[in-house]
């Protein structure tokens, strides 16, 4: 399939490489020209603008930072779109923003899917991302072969915006999950108990989770290098809290968690992995 790909950062680059590996005909565009180079070396064509990345293609995918960036590149895509183009945004943005972008693209005759991912850089490289999509059945069917090159667990959640709702729900669970594991570890240590043994014991029971297993191990190793940077997790939790505010939805646990992430970014841990919340807990309880 002829695919345009926009945004070649820590996630976008490996995702685009997997599309090439899957035999797709790829045109790429990135704001910083040098980030296009690895893709050009691997056989992709370079575009001069988002509009050019869309031109003549059946599918365009964006993976950028925030809602204003998505809106901007999609305006370019609409300008370059051929009839029947499907545009897919895989960034994490607010559901309301995704719906609005979908409406604007529909007015330009472009079918839009919001398809945020979970699984981090590791999942992007391995092609094992979870992909949660919102949009029409027809557009999802068209994008599916591309999704299959990038992810494993691919779910068509519902109509436009539904993918972002699922992603926000994912960030509630992962945000509170990381905090829960960090609190369990702080609790164990303050009680003079070996946290690695606690982790081992818990892995066999109802408290088992991927986060306890993976993030928990990294907490034990005190390896704070980002898989997923805490400022990005904070940004996603802010999407959750703003949406809750708009809807009149009471989320006390998410609110408390969002403030811990806010404190983390404010105290200079924004570029570290979300598990740095452990350091914050330790300093609050005099365990540093």
């Amino acid at each position: 399939m002829k695919i345009g790909f926009i945004g070649l950062g820590i996630m976008g680059r490996p995702m685009a490489l997997n599309l090439l590996k899957g035999g797709h005909d790829l045109t790429v565009w990135a704001r910083r020209a040098e980030s296009m180079q690895p893709l050009l070396d691997a056989g992709a064509r370079g575009a001069g603008s988002p509009a050019e990345a869309a031109r003549g293609n059946e599918l365009v995918i964006s993976m950028v930072a925030d809602a204003p960036d998505v809106a901007e590149v999609m305006r370019g895509v609409a300008a370059g779109a051929a009839p029947g183009l499907v545009a897919v945004d895989m960034s994490t943005i607010a559901p309301a923003a995704a719906r609005k972008i979908g409406e604007e693209l529909a007015a330009a005759g472009v079918d839009f899917i919001d398809a945020p991912v979970s699984g981090g850089e590791v999942g992007a490289i391995a092609g094992t991302l979870s992909i949660m999509a919102g949009g029409s059945d027809a557009a999802f069917a068209k994008a599916r072969p591309a999704f299959e090159c990038m992810g494993k667990n691919i779910v068509h959640v519902g109509a436009s915006g539904a993918g972002q709702v699922a992603k926000a729900a994912n960030q509630i669970v992962t945000g509170m999950g990381v905090l829960a594991v960090a609190e369990a570890f702080a609790f164990s240590a303050k009680n003079g108990v070996d946290r690695s043994k606690v982790r081992e014991a818990l892995l066999g029971g109802f408290a088992y989770s991927k986060i306890l297993e993976n993030h928990g191990q990294r907490m034990l190793d005190r390896n704070f290098k980002p898989g997923f940077k805490s400022w990005m997790h904070e940004k996603d939790l802010n999407i959750v809290m703003q949406t809750a505010h708009e809807l009149g939805l009471c989320l006390p646990g998410s609110a408390a968690t969002a403030q811990m992430f806010n404190a983390m970014v404010g105290s200079g841990h924004g570029e570290e992995d979300s598990i740095a919340v452990l350091k914050l807990l330790e300093s609050l309880s005099g365990q540093a």
Binding site: E234, N238, M241, Q242, A244, H245, L247, G248, L249, C250, L251, P252, A255, A256, A258, Q259, M260, N262, A263, V265, G266, S267
Partner: protein, 284 residues
Amino acid sequence: MRVGFIGLGVMGRPMALHLHKAGHELAVWARRPDSVGDLPAQVCATPAELGRCCEVVFTVITSSADVEGVALGADGLIEGMVPGSVLVDCSTIAPEAARKIAARLGQKGIHMLDAPVSGGAQGAIDATLAIMAGGEAEVLDRVRPLLDCLGKRIVHVGPNGAGQVAKACNQMIMVAAIQAAAEAMRLAAAAGVDCAKVRQALSGGSAASRVLDVMGERMVRRDFAAGIEARLHHKDFGLVIEAARQSGVPVPLAAVVGQQLNALMAQGWGRDDTSSLLRVLELQ
């Protein structure tokens, strides 16, 4: 002096009347012209037209977007106000929005103060509002005689935006205190103790506060008709959480209180008084 006024709601109307009583000539613009009612004022067709004929313009409206629209939008104040004139914005909006509007007006030589108020409808009627001003000291001095008609305590907090920061702090403390009073009333009732007596006892001690006096009294009487509409506090908490986020400062209590306000909104009590936080606790 000819004074412009935009926003004739529960706060704005008594404020405008005080200015009129002090001998100032009023000009108004209202989105819904019938809201002017019997207010003795010249009615203008647009904010720009209002701006053209006034030395000082007050705005008391709801959201950042509303103030931006009235000040900077098509036919906005910026198109009419002359260099040297002053916009006094008494609305509660984001500090960042206040700074942005001030900067844009400043390019045309128009001064702005962010001057949010605290004291509620009663404070507006009694002219006892607390006014927290952000902007240049000389500009504040120029309009101080007008502000003296509206409030008792007028504090120059700092440059543009500082007034709104102070107001955000005010809202954090006030609504957290309402939540605390509600929880105390709920606990007293659940323990089979007379809430009115508890409130009376507490009023003499270290927990005494204006909130416990006024909102606690409403909770005891179960009079949830609005003094301050809860939806406005809910709106303000959006500003508080965003300001905390931008500063990277944790506000764990405010975050939880914000969720209680979300629950209040979900019950459809947004136009009732914020003492309805008691009713949210009673849902559980």
